[in-house]
């Protein structure tokens, strides 16, 4: 379990990084390395070059404003998880990050790296998807903003192009009277989830459910987002929403759980996450 040979670059600025990526068409970006390094060691990935962005200070950014939370490419999970400012603007981030692997991994791994890795079993792609967030990508050809719906192309496949560097991700703020919740079931603490749900519920002024959306991990090739507003109705019938979800999802079997169990579990978690999100929305509406 030692990686094959690769070229190594340690740029100090984003422009230098983009130059290095442009010169190495099968290059890979190394940020936290929590997914990439094991892939290298198991020789499941053999990039010609690694562009290590850990020395680029400008990418180590976390900004929470009225519109949302912007997370730079070097912001570690642990920093975002513990940020009170980020939690105040977008609580779902911290709620989900607590489920990402283990503390030592969160100390190194990055939010943007997890999004670029595009693992459909990971927490953050589902969060970005359900919130309708975006990723900012840069290359020597210029910059572009990629909506979540277009970012995830397939399992472990993003729409980032060769030579592109994801420089930041943006998680929009919540509307008023909106609650969030994240829940997942994993075989062991910190494992990839058998299924997980990120729920966002918004109430209207009469405290009826105006909108309910859920993002799913572990049950589809790319993060699945379902609008549950209709199924749940204005009174928030989460059991009905769960039944609706069970009809919609089509998970696969693997060695940890079969498709039937995952479908059942997705319903259970939907009901729990939506009920918790609605309770949180109600609490906020009362403030």
């Amino acid at each position: 379990m030692k990686p094959p040979p690769f070229g190594y670059h340690a740029p100090r600025t984003v422009d230098e990084a983009l130059d290095a990526l442009a010169a190495a068409p099968s290059g890979k970006v190394l940020a936290g390395g929590q997914s990439l390094v094991p892939l290298l060691n198991m020789r499941l990935a053999a990039p010609s070059d690694l562009v290590d962005i850990n020395r680029i200070a400008e990418l180590d950014a976390l900004r929470a404003g009225d519109g949302g939370v912007r997370v730079g490419a070097l912001a570690r999970h642990a920093r975002v998880e513990r940020s009170a400012e980020a939690a105040a603007v977008q609580p779902l981030l911290g709620q989900a990050l607590r489920h990402v692997a283990h503390p030592v991994i969160r100390n190194r791994g990055t939010v943007v790296g997890s999004l670029a890795h595009a693992d459909p079993a990971a927490e953050l792609p589902a969060v970005l998807a359900v919130l309708g967030g975006t990723v900012e990508a840069a290359s020597s050809r210029g910059r572009r903003t990629i909506p979540a719906a277009e970012l995830f192309a397939g399992p472990l496949e993003s729409s980032l192009e060769p030579g592109e560097l994801a420089v930041s991700a943006f998680f929009p703020a919540l509307p008023p009277r909106t609650g969030t919740a994240f829940t997942e079931t994993a075989r062991r603490h910190g494992d990839y989830a058998l299924a997980g749900v990120a729920a966002v519920v918004t109430l209207d002024e009469d405290l009826r459910v105006r909108a309910a959306r859920a993002g799913y991990l572990g049950v589809s090739a790319t993060p699945l987002v379902l609008d549950l507003s209709g199924a749940a109705g204005p009174r928030g019938d989460w059991a009905a929403a769960a039944a609706h979800v069970r009809e919609r999802v089509d998970p696969e079997s693997d060695i940890h759980a079969g498709a039937a169990y995952r479908r059942h579990l997705t319903g259970v978690l939907t009901e729990r996450a939506c009920a918790a999100a609605a309770a949180e929305a109600l609490r906020k509406a009362g403030e």
Binding site: R188, G190, I255, A257, H264
Partner: protein, 803 residues
């Protein structure tokens, strides 16, 4: 004697080094050595038609590539079958490098040597092996069907059929008032030590000697194997087990192919050579354990007393049988546990499959046997509507029945005779610790919708199998006590426990005792660390060696003090007249006096001259029968094993929706005779229970039908984290063994043995559905619920749920 050290929870002396990263493990050694990597079979069953190394030759830093054809003489012979047995009629072992057929994924095919492991892996990737795939045999059912054979010359894929019996079980079952018949199964797991295997060899061409470091559980046997294969005398081979990061059984197998090949190539190349196993290699090329299917027939009376038990077990031993049929023997004997079974018959069919070899993993067949027996006890209780603990109590061997002869032959080839124990007291303590009798009320008081269950299980564990271990003790002129024993340590705390024994026996401060294990340079005769035998075997051998040294010290001191040795005692390293500290001589001085050659290198030697110990001029300076030096050697060889025992109990909660299983409480009552160090014993129990929880709820080897292991990594092989292991409540019972001087029994494997049985019992109780297969995952439980909804026979009778 000064402070009591035997029996005290002394802190482990090795932990400072381990916890601060100063351990000296295999891969910490030989930084300048060449590195080996192996080309391993990607097929479960295939014929090798061609090996083409030409593509690897231009890898910079490549030194050599070897295939089977390169191995001379005994180096290329099949690996030894370590423990033959008359029932093992078709034992087979592999070659160090595959000769023509590979029989499991991961079997070594070629060895690559390069300047470092990176380059060795680069080159290994470029070795092209052509295979002609053969039909793979995967799983116990396929092996038993025998539509395809793992070995052409082994009909039916049957390596061994082992029968153990007392009385006429079939007749007893037929005559019994009640009878039940059912099938149980238990999946594969593995030792998975945090440190994998590893070998590092240095050849000294001028001296003609070889030094080998191996992450092994038996350095003396590895030495013998290497010496034989390489045609070297034992005296020219040194084998050292450095710090070893866990073994749990897998490292008792020897020699591993790599333990032959690495020293051989180091000598051939006259270069230091090292191989450090990586995790993927460990999963597919070390060893697994546990997989069995058990068909049970039991007959019993109205009180739940077992009158007849007939068990047919199919055991999956993988592609080869280097370690014989120890696991079937242990399962079929230890299955009886603490119970008096009227008539018993066990027939174990040991089957070949195209999967990794199966050799002992902590418990070594006991978890399966106990699972079988304890599931049977639960079945009986449910059938009769009786309390599960009461049914067990009705079957227990009573304290006045020891020694108790079960009428079978144990793994050491000796009669299965339990030496001592108090099983009713174990059960009573376990019931009390977990709150068995109050559980029904506890469950009733739990909020609606919660599903709680309680389970328990008992076991007896034969520990301290022979044939022998030895100990050497030497007190030097600085008063340091050097203790060495040949068996190895993999983190058990031997440096602490053995030092406690020596300190207590000699009357010296604990900090003066220094312990060395697993180094053939220090002690050449040993068996190894397995079967919960280290404390019993080496502990007693060291005690016997200490007694010799003490006797000699008293004899010399008596001369010096002009006293009778019988009036002397040793306190804090000083020999003195009992009750009179003024007439005394320190052991360090006695050490000087013990050697007539008294160069005054240090103050002790000079000080010793004040004691006029001299021999008459007509006698030789070293008397006949005496030896210079204050040292002694002792061996302990037991007539048979000593039997430890225990009872575990657990309370679990299952989620009514997600079917997740949480262990709320876990209680262990354990009897390993006299305790040397209760803290070390508790640590052993904790680690064992953790591995038991893995086997009960998380771990399996996910082979697909083609024989690929789908979860060969710690990402997908679910070894429990600390977060999955419950707090463990322990109670001790001390029933000394009458068989050995210290009255101790083994403790190493105990924690793991009954866990699958206990968790199965508790989940069944919580859920009300029958649990016949372990481990059990949330998906498994969910599926069971759906099946039980349609099939009432899968449901546990409601009346039995409360107890």
């Amino acid at each position: 004697m000064g402070t009591r050290v035997f029996g005290e929870p002394v802190r482990r002396r090795e932990d400072g080094r381990f916890l601060t990263g100063r351990g000296r493990f295999l891969d910490d050694l030989g930084r300048g050595a060449l590195a080996a990597a192996f080309v391993r079979s990607p097929h479960a069953h295939a014929r090798i038609t061609d090996i083409d190394v030409s593509g690897a030759l231009d890898v910079e830093g490549l030194v050599a590539i070897y295939t089977w054809e390169d191995l001379p003489g005994r180096v290329g012979d099949p690996l030894p079958l370590l423990i033959p047995h008359p029932a093992l009629t078709h034992g087979r072992t592999g070659y160090p490098l595959a000769r023509d057929v590979v029989r499991h994924v991961g079997e070594p095919v070629a060895m690559v040597v390069a300047h470092d492991r990176y380059l060795a892996e680069d080159a290994a990737e470029r070795v092209h092996v052509e295979y002609e795939p053969l039909p793979p045999v995967v799983g116990i059912e396929a092996a038993a069907r025998a539509e395809h054979l793992v070995h052409d010359d082994v009909p039916g894929n049957v390596g061994a059929v082992l029968v153990q019996e007392t009385g006429d079980a079939a007749a007893a079952i037929d005559a019994a008032p009640h009878a039940l018949e059912f099938r149980l199964s238990i999946e594969r797991s593995a030792s998975t030590p945090l440190e994998g295997r590893g070998v590092y060899a240095r050849w000294d061409a001028d001296d003609g000697s070889l030094r080998v470091y191996s992450s092994t559980q038996t350095s003396t046997s590895v030495r013998a194997a290497i010496a034989a294969r390489l045609g070297l005398p034992n005296g020219k081979v040194e084998v050292v087990a450095p710090d070893v990061g866990g073994g749990f059984g897998v490292k008792i197998v020897h020699p591993w192919p790599e333990e032959v090949l690495v020293p051989w190539a180091a000598r051939l190349l006259d270069r230091e050579l090292k191989w450090t196993e990586d995790r993927r290699e460990h999963f597919v090329s070390a060893a697994h354990e546990r997989g069995q299917v058990q068909d049970v027939r039991v007959g019993f009376d109205d009180a739940g007393r077992v009158l007849g038990l007939d068990v047919r077990i199919r055991h999956d031993h993988g592609a080869y049988t280097p370690y014989g049929i120890i696991i079937p023997i242990v399962t079929s004997t230890q299955l009886l546990g603490p119970y008096k079974i009227g008539a018993y018959r066990a027939e174990v069919t040991s089957l070949y499959t195209n999967t990794l070899i199966v050799t002992p993993y902590r418990g070594a067949g006991r978890p399966q046997g106990v699972y079988c027996m304890e599931r049977t006890m639960d079945r009986i209780a449910r059938h009769l509507g009786r309390d599960r603990a009461d049914v067990r109590a009705a079957n227990l061997i009573q304290p006045d029945e020891f020694p108790y002869d079960q009428g079978l032959l144990f793994q050491d080839g000796r009669p299965l005779i339990y030496d001592s124990g108090d099983y009713p007291e174990l059960l009573r303590k376990a019931r009390e610790l977990i709150g068995w009798d109050g559980f029904a009320a506890e469950r009733a008081a739990a909020s609606r919708g919660r599903r709680l269950g309680i389970g328990l299980g008992l076991y007896v564990e034969g520990t301290g199998v022979g044939p022998y271990e030895g100990g050497h003790v030497e007190i030097d002129t600085a008063g340091r006590v050097h203790v060495s024993t040949g068996l190895t340590s993999q983190g058990q705390g031997h440096e602490t426990a053995f030092a406690q024994i020596a300190a207590a026996e000699l009357g010296v401060p604990l900090e003066d005792v220094h312990v060395t294990t697993g180094d053939t340079r220090r002690f050449g005769y040993a068996v190894g660390t397995f079967a919960s035998r280290a404390a019993v075997m080496s502990g007693n051998a060291i005690a016997l060696a200490c007694r010799k040294v003490r006797e000699k010290a008293l004899r010399i001191a008596a001369d010096a003090l002009e006293a009778d040795p019988r009036d002397l005692d040793v306190t804090d390293g000083v020999v003195h007249v009992r009750g009179d500290m003024s007439a005394s001589v320190p052991l360090r001085t006695v050490a000087v006096l013990s050697n007539p050659l008294r160069y005054a290198f240090d103050e002790e030697a000079a000080a010793a001259t004040q004691f006029a110990v001299g021999r008459p001029a007509t006698e030789p300076p070293v008397a006949s029968g005496e030896e210079p030096g204050l040292e002694g050697r002792g061996y302990y060889s037991p007539v048979r094993s000593t039997f430890a025992s225990g009872a575990h109990a657990a309370i679990v909660e299952v989620d009514p929706d997600t079917a997740e299983i949480a262990i709320l409480r876990y209680a262990v009552v354990h009897d390993c005779g006299r305790l040397i160090n209760p803290m070390v014993v508790e640590g052993q129990i904790h680690g064992g229970v953790a591995q038991g929880v893995g086997g009960a709820l998380y771990e399996r080897m996910a082979y697909d039908e083609s024989g690929q292991l789908l979860n060969a990594s710690f990402m997908d092989f679910l070894m429990p984290y600390a977060t999955e292991v419950p707090r463990i409540e322990t109670g001790h019972l001390e029933t000394p063994s009458p068989l050995n001087p210290l009255g101790i029994k083994g403790a190493g494997e105990a924690g793991v043995i009954p866990v699958s049985a206990v968790i199965a019992s508790a989940v069944e109780d919580a859920e009300g559905v029958r649990v016949d297969a372990m481990p059990i995952s949330p998906d498994d439980l969910h599926t069971l619920r759906l099946r039980a909804a349609d099939d009432p026979s899968l449901r546990v009778r409601e009346g039995a749920r409360t107890g």
